[in-house]
Symmetry: C2
Subunit: 111 residues, 2 copies
């Protein structure tokens, strides 16, 4: 699907939780992971190789986010952190988020 | 939780599907990933950084597998491929599989 001869990268898996704070505590007490983001409505934990997100059932569906070109799947939604994505459903109704990372800030021109 | 000063690794995320073959085709047509295992009842796709498993709803719950010490969570179940694991539930009822990889075959003693 892409040019490079490598595999695609999963950015995160998101699972539904009832209480974000309680869930973050449960995971961080049992596993070595870093809290990348946390508020009352969602959180993102970084593991060594991939992230695990917690979302409230009434706000977000559980999903798998794969880094790719969301524009190939629809009209990308731009997020506040600079990422953009499109949600698609697999044949079973599972939600897949095709996610483009925020563009790098162009470095200052070398002189 | 462990000795090394690194983060834990997610081995795979497993999502429920109705038809394994159809689902593998859908993902491999859209994303760059390798089919590590596939039969009629489950499949494992390898992405660059982590695996995505497909399980039949009537056979397995959706789950997140994290590499760790299953013995710290219960009586590990030994699988045919040499791995062993224990399933635990987070406070929301999400299934977490704590998975120990198969032990390496001991290399021949150096002489």
């Amino acid at each position: 699907m892409n040019k490079e001869n490598t595999l695609d990268t999963m950015h995160h898996a998101a699972i539904r939780v009832k209480d974000v704070k309680e869930t973050v505590e449960w995971y961080t007490q049992r596993f070595r992971c870093n809290v990348e983001y946390q508020d009352a409505s969602w959180a993102m934990l970084a593991f060594e190789n991939v992230r695990l997100a917690f979302v409230l059932a009434e706000q977000h569906p559980p999903h798998i986010a794969i880094i790719g070109d969301p524009g190939a799947y629809g009209e990308p939604k731009l997020h506040r952190d600079g990422t953009s994505s499109v949600y698609v459903k697999d044949p079973n109704g599972n939600n897949i988020e095709v996610l483009a990372l925020a563009p790098e800030i162009a470095p200052a021109a070398k002189s």
